[in-house]
Symmetry: C2
Subunit: 418 residues, 2 copies
Amino acid sequence: MQNETAVKKPHVVIVGAGFGGIRTARALAKNDVKITLIDKYNYHLFQPLLYQVATAGLSVDDIAYPVRAIFRDQKNVDFRLAEVSNVDFETKVVTMNTGQISYDYLVVAAGGMTNYFGMASMEKNGFGMKTLDESVEIRNHVLRMFELAAHEKDADKRRALLTFVIVGGGPTGVESAGALSELIYHVMVKEYHNMNFKEVRIMLVEASDKLLATMPEELRDITVETLIRKHVEVRMCVQVTEYDGERMSLKGGEVIPTYTVIWAAGVKANNLIDTLDVEQASMRRAIVNEYLQLPTRPEVFIIGDAAHCMQGERPLPMVAPVAMQQADATAKNIRNIIRGKELKKFVYKEMGNMATIGRNAAVVHMGKFKTHGFIAWAIWSFVHILRLIDFRNRAVVFVKWMWDYLVYERVVRIITRQ
Amino acid sequence: MQNETAVKKPHVVIVGAGFGGIRTARALAKNDVKITLIDKYNYHLFQPLLYQVATAGLSVDDIAYPVRAIFRDQKNVDFRLAEVSNVDFETKVVTMNTGQISYDYLVVAAGGMTNYFGMASMEKNGFGMKTLDESVEIRNHVLRMFELAAHEKDADKRRALLTFVIVGGGPTGVESAGALSELIYHVMVKEYHNMNFKEVRIMLVEASDKLLATMPEELRDITVETLIRKHVEVRMCVQVTEYDGERMSLKGGEVIPTYTVIWAAGVKANNLIDTLDVEQASMRRAIVNEYLQLPTRPEVFIIGDAAHCMQGERPLPMVAPVAMQQADATAKNIRNIIRGKELKKFVYKEMGNMATIGRNAAVVHMGKFKTHGFIAWAIWSFVHILRLIDFRNRAVVFVKWMWDYLVYERVVRIITRQ
């Protein structure tokens, strides 16, 4: 009997090494299954801190960790560096750019990507911030704008070089604006001896009348006040209509000359979902049942940003905690199927909301608990360091943060690959 | 009088922010001069540790430090991110890709670049290791070779993917070979669960009959033994004749299938020197007089890898200590000219030689003092950390090294921009 199961070990294929995929693999690795984890990058990316790479606060290596290092001691986990192009649910075969692989159970945790809502000029000329390469591009670009502005004689050109626009008032937009402000007004200001920093302009543009829409009103107000104190121009109820790389147009006719527009206004499921034979809902996410399975394929689970999962009247948001809880539930249900047990419905436990706006400034909302300022910043830091350590198991990020905190330093300001 | 000198502050233009350029600017910044430092990168690169980036031991940000951060408190130092294309010695004007600038004193510290000695196939298909981007390319490439080999069914192809050749038995070649061995046999071996590491081959190829030619024989022998113990195949008296990207040909007819050839076999002066109206010697370096001036232009100094400076019967080697001592001498002589004092001849003080071959293994030679093994490694680490701190003023590299030392870890193994 022992031998027979050894031969027939179920093969679980997981697509995506983000929060959902890694966590599913970890949870299942202890079981008697064979796992293949596929990702087009060889690292797990800690996406919530991408904005810190974009604003020169952290290095690339601080928020990216090799997948193979995570599963060093799990000999039943195999990694494939590959891009998945399709899945044949009938024959249970995943097609990658480097070959094919068959599965007994499939977990699609392919994640999300920037949603430009069809605005082609923004997709072409703006910056997205969902991948490591994109955040490095933003960093290089912002630093280069300062180098160009430092010796630009034409005042209009100089002001356009020094105008930085962030579109989207969600956590990514708010955190990016706060971090950019600190980079510029605490660090750059000391190093560009001949520059007039009154010419610098940081704008945060939001289409609705709310920043951090899911937060209570009190914390939303504090967020706006904090940003304004950090010299961020907060513009609400404003819609961007076009951006040609030099001029951003707003609905109503206003035109803002700028070379830098960071688009943090939307996410949609990875384009892999479009190639699959699945029913889709908003943000092109695949519709799953209450067990996170494809309704017609009980051996296929879809989780995280790729899944449209209803909870009550609403679909769950596209955030890391959802993906991680879904990963745990999926690992449990795959075990249940293998053992012939009944499946358990997925129920999301709301963990609260938080966003940081810079040094000593954040807003935190958990159930009835609301706080802001230094305490919120400490909670935010603590939670993120814990999560990072979960993947990295080391202290460099902590050392860097403490250092930055003590000396207002940003050492990651190098421009690579010009 | 005070006012007059303020108006007529001498303008010193320094081309290059390497060891020589940075040091000259630092030494002169205390004086009543205006300094413009020009580099095509916005960072100072700690080149002696490039091989650690190439072998995933350190991050890009650990060995690159923003120039502006170095001169934060020196308000008389201005930085220009630009590439110098020419200098008109007659009108004393430097032409950059972004404009022109005139000087009273010019210091050319443009550094060196990889010398392929005219071997076009190697320049095209091999990897140089003089810039940050090149070392990141090597890292990405080496990591990708392992990912490809992990699922390659063809045994010949697999062995070629796992064959890594380093050409050149100087310090860079020796250090790269040692570091690559440690990456593979201490780290990768734990993470590629299904790979046979007997198929891996690291080769160090040297045309002469000596590794680390300037070291005493005793230390050269120890170097070879140490490398062999680290599974590096040391091939001396062997000349590479061609490399097409898949097959490396040696003189005599031997052909080695490999996708990775790292060229560490030569350096020559930066190509800027070719565009200047100067007399050149070996490695296209500009010939300078005993004060490091261009013989016909007393206001132009050339230092470091760009200068051909005779000391006794031989030209000085192209290494960092030479550039740094020449920087001190140049700063002093520019001061002397300004103050109407006599110039001082440059005399190089030999500081000794060292190279590390990996964890606990290095060779050190200073005057009559010779040592190897752990003590040499400790000296090497101490000297390099001190030099780094000189530029970075912080402890992250130290923390990383200690961590690697304790747990045999390499966390920088991410493949960027595929």
